[in-house]
């Protein structure tokens, strides 16, 4: 009986900062500026279908790239060679200790027309490249920002994997490739699912990264919502868009949950 009271602060916290804002978003989404009920805000989303499509596409690319880079990284981090894995872990996690905007600004200085990379190209006698402003640059920025969220859950799962199980597979005749395909990969599915969720969710609603890395050429849903809220001061359409994004994300989580019904995904969300 009494115990439940300990949860009270969290309940208050939840109500204040999760439930109330959610309700507000719903309220704004279905009302006009003057407060009358409408569904027009929601239908406005169709005007921005290409942006929505771009957001989903880039988020998918980003998630795929994070998985491709992140899985091997997590694998090496979890392997028993501690001294090497330590430095690799720091390398991957260090950027997390910085605000993502700062990180992105740092990235920009690398890719700018007069940036570090182009200076390097010039020194090597290679032609300068227009990098900033391209979709590739946005993608690099996104992957750089979201990679840790892929690595961590996979690392957690791999770290827990009993080396004796791998020995058992070898014992039964599995060569190194088959050890990975038949044991290590299947056993890390929960971590992969968790990683995909952790990357895909924030990636769909990416903002700022896209604008900065594309010098304002590429607008994603996150940027749109920000724009409606702040620049155009139209929180009704902004809320409607947020709502649509939330529903899309919930649906995708639903699919992913199917792949990891026990929810052992590294315990990260």
């Amino acid at each position: 009986m009494k115990r439940s009271w300990y949860a009270a602060p969290y309940a208050v916290w939840m109500a204040l900062f999760t439930i109330v804002p959610l309700l507000l978003v719903c309220y704004y989404a279905f009302t006009t500026r003057s407060g009358a009920f409408t569904t027009e805000n929601l239908t406005r989303i169709f005007d921005y279908a290409p942006v929505l499509f771009d957001s989903l596409r880039l988020a998918l690319y980003c998630t795929a790239l994070c998985l491709l880079i992140g899985y091997p990284a997590a694998y090496f981090m979890a392997s028993r060679d501690m001294s090497r894995s330590q430095s690799l872990a720091v390398l991957i996690l260090l950027p997390m200790w910085m605000n993502f905007l700062l990180r992105t600004y740092a990235m920009m200085t690398l890719f700018e027309n007069n940036g570090v990379l182009n200076t390097l190209f010039e020194a090597l006698g290679l032609p300068r490249q227009q990098m900033i402003g391209t979709e590739g640059a946005v993608l690099v920025g996104m992957v750089y920002n979201f990679l840790p969220f892929m690595v961590l859950p996979i690392y957690t799962v791999l770290k827990k994997l009993d080396p004796r199980v791998i020995e058992a597979a070898e014992d039964l005749g599995a060569n190194p490739v088959r050890v990975v395909t038949r044991v290590v990969l299947p056993m890390s599915v929960p971590g992969i699912v968790s990683g995909i969720t952790m990357v895909f969710m924030p990636a769909v609603t990416t903002f700022a990264i896209s604008r900065l890395m594309s010098s304002g050429m590429i607008y994603l849903m996150g940027d749109m919502i920000e724009e409606f809220y702040i620049t155009m001061n139209n929180r009704n359409v902004g809320s409607a868009m947020s709502l649509v994004m939330m529903v899309l994300i919930l649906i995708s989580i639903g699919f992913l949950r199917k792949a990891d019904p026990e929810g052992q995904g590294g315990g990260l969300w």
Partner: protein, 358 residues
């Protein structure tokens, strides 16, 4: 059954972990179709030796030969060996059926004696079914591993290794988690399988009874050193030193002095024995098994003492008899009440003399 060809040979195997030496120059050969048991107390290096044979651990010194060929550069998956691991190491992402089928799935259809993939699937199902029956786990095919008890997991681990019908099977305390009745049944089943399929078993246990009943050869280990290698009966009847005598079966161990060939003095009494070749007045260890001590009348006994305690052990009574200088453990089918005075005698053949360990 056991053939003369040496299948596996260990030559001077030494292994250390962080400066502590776990195995000291182990020399051992294992013949084709042999049931050989590594027996020894916890921590004596049994698992380590088995892991070296399986290829999961590299020895610091020495060689493992398989049919005469050095195995140093042969990874575990290419050795014709399967292992029942002490801690099972089952695949938690697969159900019982797929765990057992793991090794077979990796093989080509031809290796299973069939042509098509379909036939392979059927053949695997057939073999897995037979194994499940053997380990008394029929109907558990679809169960997930974490829904099984320890003993059930252990039986799946046995089935998973045995189903591959390897040339050599390493078993690390494979019956440790089973209750006594199932354990006895599985001992019989394993022994039958071993003989029927002609598989070489390298078996690890610290249960001396299991070792003696199942093995062709027993290797007694202590502190990473081989104490004695031999047939079970020989090890039991002629332990080479006090450690083996104490570890295998129950025994009365006492110090004695070899007065001359076939005459040993212990507890101030001279006994006839059958051992020769010791120096005159050499100090020795003497072993007498409890069942070899005969209770006789107080007046005709070589030793006399008082019965201190009597415990009924099923088939026999176990009595502790105090002769003043020592308490003897005596097994007899007839009971002497506690407190009574008895005489004891031992026939020469049942007195085992061993050199003192350095």
């Amino acid at each position: 059954m056991v053939q003369d060809t040496r299948l596996i040979e260990l030559k001077g195997i030494s292994k250390s972990f962080d400066d502590t030496q776990v195995l000291h120059s182990i020399d051992l050969y294992i013949r084709k179709c042999e049931f050989i048991t590594l027996l020894g107390p916890s921590g004596c290096g049994k698992t380590t030796l088995l892991r070296i044979i399986g290829g999961f651990e590299t020895p610091d010194e020495g060689q493992v030969l398989f049919e005469g060929a050095d195995m140093a550069n042969v990874p575990p998956y290419r050795r014709r060996i399967n292992t029942v691991f002490q801690k099972y190491a089952l695949f938690s992402h697969l159900n019982v059926f797929d765990n057992i089928a793991f090794g077979l799935n990796l093989k080509t259809p031809e290796a299973l004696g069939v042509k098509t993939r379909r036939q392979k699937r059927e053949e695997i199902a057939r073999r897995v079914g037979r194994m499940l029956k053997l380990v008394k786990m029929e109907g558990y095919e679809k169960r997930s591993i974490d829904q099984l008890s320890g003993g059930q997991q252990q039986r799946i681990a046995i089935a998973r290794a045995l189903v591959n019908e390897p040339e050599v099977l390493l078993l690390d305390e494979p019956l440790g988690a089973l209750d006594l009745k199932l354990r006895k049944e599985m001992q019989v089943e394993l022994k039958a399988m071993q003989q029927q399929l002609g598989i070489t078993f390298i078996y690890v246990t610290h249960d001396q009874e299991e070792a003696l009943t199942m093995s062709d050869t027993v290797v007694v280990l202590n502190g990473g050193r081989i104490q004695q290698i031999g047939e079970p009966k020989r090890i039991y009847d002629e332990p080479k030193n006090a450690f083996v005598a104490d570890f295998i079966g129950e025994s009365n161990i006492l110090s004695g002095i070899m007065r001359e060939d076939c005459l040993v003095e212990m507890l101030g009494v001279e006994f006839q024995c059958v051992d020769e070749g010791f120096a005159k007045d050499e100090p020795v260890d003497v072993v007498v098994r409890p069942e070899d001590v005969m209770i006789v009348g107080e007046d005709v006994g070589m030793l006399t003492g008082t019965v201190e305690s009597v415990i009924f052990k099923g088939v026999h009574y176990e009595m502790m008899v105090n002769t003043g200088a020592m308490r003897w453990k005596v097994h007899s089918t007839t009971m002497q009440p506690a407190g009574s005075r008895v005489g004891m005698s031992i026939v020469p053949f049942n007195i085992h003399i061993m050199r003192k360990e350095a």
